[in-house]
Symmetry: C2
Subunit: 232 residues, 2 copies
Amino acid sequence: MSNIKATIVSSELKKIPLLSSLSDDARDSFANKCRWVEYGPDKSVIERGMFDTNVYFIITGTLHVLNYSETGRVITYATLKDGDMFGELAAIDGLPRSAWVCSITPCQMATCPSPAFINLLSGNAEVSLALLKRMSSNIRLLDDRLKDLTLLGAEQRACTELLRMAKPDSEAPGGYVISPMLTHANFANLVGVSRETISRIFRKLREESLIVHNKRGLCIPNRKLLEQRAFL
Amino acid sequence: MSNIKATIVSSELKKIPLLSSLSDDARDSFANKCRWVEYGPDKSVIERGMFDTNVYFIITGTLHVLNYSETGRVITYATLKDGDMFGELAAIDGLPRSAWVCSITPCQMATCPSPAFINLLSGNAEVSLALLKRMSSNIRLLDDRLKDLTLLGAEQRACTELLRMAKPDSEAPGGYVISPMLTHANFANLVGVSRETISRIFRKLREESLIVHNKRGLCIPNRKLLEQRAFL
DNA sequence: ACAATAGTGTGATTTGTATCACATATTTCA
DNA sequence: TGAAATATGTGATACAAATCACACTATTGT
């Protein structure tokens, strides 16, 4: 890779929170170990069971982390966006990939081989700690979803997931939005129910004005009310 | 804490795989930051929502990591044993505890405050990396269980969990054992089904000789057969 | 050795959610 | 602009698993 390209990669890597503690020099030299990769929409970046160990840093684009059953049903673990990373598990433990990662939108990413990543971690306690934090929050989320899945019904889980995804709405004071909203089918995979069930649940929530659909996505006018619904 | 006590703690900490890369000196000085704690059986060590951030290293004893629903139903995430650790999430990110940890048998543990643990990680890339590995395998397990829960039926999940828990049987060549076996109720919480359903599933598996109960616990004479059952 | 407690087995019934089978919208792009 | 492809809405039915209710069996302790 040319130095010019590496310099470009390095400046793009500034957008990755995990690497924010690196000095310019350290980031430059790490960027030298990275490759620039681009994917179109609906492309598979990582496939379950493969033995590659590269780490990916998302500069722009959206991807889904998911798994299939033999019968073709899907479970979605997470939606990844600009600034996120993935592929760290295999890079750390060398085991085969545990899930698929597929691009939704076109994606630009920097990727580096496992040894370069391990080397980065060994030499930078701050990056190491940042990754530990990332993985902690990952585990907390997985714990929560596992709990929801065994202890809650479909409607409660759907509400909980809506609350997790909602961000304060800049255009409606006090309100929350999910924008852009996933398709029912995708949301269903995330919650672990059928598409039809999500459709029925949303109808009810809409009838009670707990959620509102518009062009911006899905709005939650009153978060408290939805929380009440999620907890009983 | 007296130096004598710290020395004892240090030698006990040798049993913790996570700390195995530490030199005697480094371990001694870390042991100085630790406190020795003991719990009887059925005691709560960590409670969901609490803001303490201590890390625990299990010298002897067994504990369960779990969560309750409002209705009293339980989900068990993991069983921890000698050499394991817990409490690292809160120590790393400072957030409230995400689950309960309860002693099953009497327990002896070393515990240290979050800053001492963070300090240990910052100064020891090897320990840091070992923890990253531990958390990676944790995430893989959670991913798997989440997948099983949404994509598989109760019987398949029960078989999968049996396979996960089984270890090669030293007394029966080629066979596997789970020893000691959990109660049906506990196993049910782990798999995310009712106790009665586990009872019925075990009856079927016993009728087909896929599992055998005896005083040592639960034996799996032919792992391959059980795997077949789990995958269809 | 006995009662008390904890764990297990099994039928009958109810429940939630998947599945099937369409109708109806909405978006995409030729 | 119209046709194809995607996404959504909704009833009817099927089914797996929870729940309820109780008998039975081990384990524990005094």
